[in-house]
């Protein structure tokens, strides 16, 4: 099997699973789960096979293959695979973490009514996500980009009978649509810039050549490139839930927890970052665009982190944390290093998936999501707790966990490039430590508030936890950073100051949380009343949801109602019915002439004669 063929097969296995699962009868539903897992495992295995040279430390030879999909003069669209180190890394993350989560789901969803639907959706997601990663051109990427949106919609709304879940799915899809609106226009712009009419192509390899050429052709083209890249970035805003399109992600936690782990933490939301990395050569043509990317990323990081502090739902805390971490990644790329962004993406995938799976274990055991109702889990579920601690460790960025390395890369990059963003990022470390410690202190330590007896989950769920825990712990030593930039990495050293500051902020956060949340209720209450306004803002998510609500309720809906009114009153009644009424009215007037009296008729008749004679003789006699 050639490498290209194996790339196609990677795409094919989850698709096959997706298509086959609906055919399995309900009685043999477990088969469906295993089928999905098998598809994912096969994809993972093939990915490893492709990536093998990397593991052997050899340089990776990228390759590209495609088939014609749409062929119209002036518009050739292909379906292709582009496998380079970037996509291999992403593929490893997607299939690797995916495999773990699929396996985990076997147990987690075992009792669910929509078991087969769930695994079908998961397989569809895997297919689309892999599609994004291996896409050879921008439009193909867009297609899979939309498809992951679909699978996300379906999986968030898995428990569709719950109103919140149904709403959340809709919200996620529509918010993404708004982003994709810009994305598609961006694609069209790039297509226009990519050369003469007949030679245009959206192929990445091609774009990397033609767009710089376009940029150099004229000074005025720079603004167009910036515009195009910002439009592409709007797609990222939606998918990676960056401010201001972040609102859907916390709500998306209504989906089953493994879905949150896989889609809304590890992979799908990272697709935006992947897109930035993929189009980084184009972004780098526009410093202005990159700057905006960086600032938005930095802002999202700190913006989300502050909100995480006041959340009570364990999954929501993690969701805000995801937002914040995605902000880090976007910022990293905005600051000029796709490799660092991708590095953090990878480690984040490990520990955030682990966090969610841990949370899933807890929820599975307790059927409870509010951290204030938990407490003392560390004693009752030791394995889960240990893995959770490891993951939190990595998230905050303590040595030697993987998060330490990737986050330090980002911080030092920011330190070199933009001092303001550096401080933002560093302060976010403090916040990260604060909310994670709060979570751990409240939910895992202290006394249990749960009456019933809790069990560790079975081996099926623990195995993925363990695997991800190991990766989170040692991820920093695997040389992941070298995959993307083997040469450049060693060129700059991490400033000691940065490392120290980050660690200090981290410890500070942990301590703050420890003392505050271990303290008596009284102190907590007093503190909370003191900061009530701020807390209110945070709890209300900076009023972002309310703002969107207002927009929808007071702008869009009235507008729709207005148009509906316009249709009824102006178009139907005004234009149509009144025309008809006018005809009927003139008919009515004509009937008045029809008096029923002979001599009136005769007069009209004779009048007609006289007029006719006048018009055609007398009037023409003396012109």
């Amino acid at each position: 099997m050639t490498a290209a063929a194996s790339a196609w097969w990677i795409l094919f296995f989850p698709l096959a699973a997706f298509l086959l699962i609906p055919l399995i009868p309900e009685k043999k539903r477990t088969l469906g789960g295993w089928l999905a897992c098998a598809g994912m495992f096969c994809a993972f295995a093939l990915t490893v096979k492709i990536a093998w040279p990397i593991f052997e430390g050899q340089p990776f030879h990228s390759f590209h293959a495609s088939i014609e999909w749409i062929l119209i003069p002036n518009l050739q669209l292909e379906f292709g695979v582009l496998i380079d180190s970037l996509s291999v890394l992403m593929l490893l993350v997607v299939t690797g973490v995916g495999s773990a989560i699929f396996y985990y789901s076997l147990e987690y969803m075992a009792q669910d009514e929509g078991y087969r639907r769930y695994f079908a959706g998961l397989s569809l997601f895997a297919f689309s996500m892999i599609g994004i990663v291996i896409s050879a051109n921008l439009l193909q990427l867009f297609i899979f980009w939309e498809l992951v949106g679909l699978s996300s919609y379906l999986l968030i709304g898995h428990w569709y009978q719950k109103n919140e879940a149904a709403d959340a799915g809709k919200k996620a899809f529509l918010t993404n649509r708004v982003g994709d609106f810009g994305f598609l226009i961006g694609i069209l712009l790039l297509w226009t810039f990519s050369g003469a009419e007949a030679a245009r192509s959206l192929n990445f390899l091609n774009l990397n050549v033609t767009i710089p050429a376009f940029a150099q052709a004229s000074a005025s083209h720079g603004i167009w490139i910036t515009l195009a890249m910002l439009l592409v970035f709007s797609g990222v805003l939606g998918k990676s839930a960056q401010f201001p399109l972040h609102v859907w992600l916390p709500d998306a936690m209504e989906g089953p927890t493994p879905v949150s782990a896989l889609i809304h933490a590890a992979t799908m939301v990272a697709a935006g970052v992947y897109l930035l990395a993929r189009t980084f050569p184009l972004f780098s043509l526009s410093p202005a665009a990159l700057e905006i990317v960086a600032y938005l990323g930095g802002f999202t990081a700190i913006f989300a982190a502050t909100q995480a502090i006041v959340q009570n739902d364990i999954k929501r805390i993690l969701a805000y944390s995801t937002l914040s971490q995605l902000g880090y990644m976007v910022m990293a790329i905005g600051l000029g290093s796709a490799a660092i962004g991708m590095y953090h993406l990878t480690t984040h995938a490990f520990f955030k998936a682990l966090l969610f799976l841990g949370a899933g274990s807890v929820i599975h055991a307790t059927h409870e999501q509010d951290i204030w109702n938990m407490g003392g889990l560390a004693k009752k579920m030791p394995v889960t707790s240990v893995t959770f601690f490891i993951a939190s460790f990595a998230l905050v960025g303590f040595w030697p966990a993987s998060g330490f390395f990737s986050k330090d890369e980002i911080l030092s990059l920011a330190f070199l490039e933009n001092k303001f963003l550096f401080w933002v990022a560093a302060f976010t470390v403090f916040l990260t430590a604060l909310y994670m410690s709060r979570l751990i202190v409240v939910a895992f330590l202290g006394t249990s508030k749960i009456r019933k007896k809790l069990h560790e989950p079975t081996q099926k769920m623990l195995l993925p936890l363990a695997a991800l825990a190991v990766l989170s712990l040692i991820g920093g030593f695997l040389g992941i950073q070298n995959i993307l930039s083997p040469a450049s990495h060693s060129s700059h050293e991490t400033p000691v100051f940065v490392v120290a500051l980050a660690t200090a902020f981290g410890i500070l956060g942990v301590l703050a949380a420890w003392f505050f949340y271990r303290s008596s209720r009284k102190i907590q209450n007093r503190f909370q009343t003191a900061f009530a306004p701020i807390r209110e803002i945070l709890v209300r998510k900076y009023y972002m949801d309310d703002l969107y609500d207002l927009l929808l309720r007071y702008i869009q809906q009235p507008f729709a109602q207005f148009l509906s009114w316009f249709e009824r009153k102006v178009i139907v009644e005004g234009l149509v019915n009144h025309t008809a009424a006018f005809a009927a009215f003139s008919g009515f007037c004509l009937r008045k002439l029809q008096t029923g009296r002979i001599q009136t008729y005769l007069s009209v008749f004779f009048f007609g004669v006289v007029i006719l004679v006048y018009c055609f003789t007398i009037a023409n006699l003396h012109p």
Partner: protein
Amino acid sequence: MTLNHYLITSGILFAIGAFGVLGRRNVIIILLSIEIMLNAANLSFVAFASHLNDLGGQVISLFVIAIAASEVAIGLAIAVILFREQGTLDPEKMNLMKG
């Protein structure tokens, strides 16, 4: 006497007849007025016949007299029924159908 004299005479007769038809509210007088109009046409036919030196006009006027006779016959028959059924000869009183 020129042709125009005769034509104008016939025109006057025609106009008077037309007025009778338009204005009089008695079917019998209306029928009489129509006779006047037909005779106006006859006068014009005969005058033109002389003018053209062609017998046709006179022949036609004979036809017209015959047609007028038939028309009057039918008209009077209807007038008789009308009077018998409705007790009036006023055409304006008939407007069951209108609009």
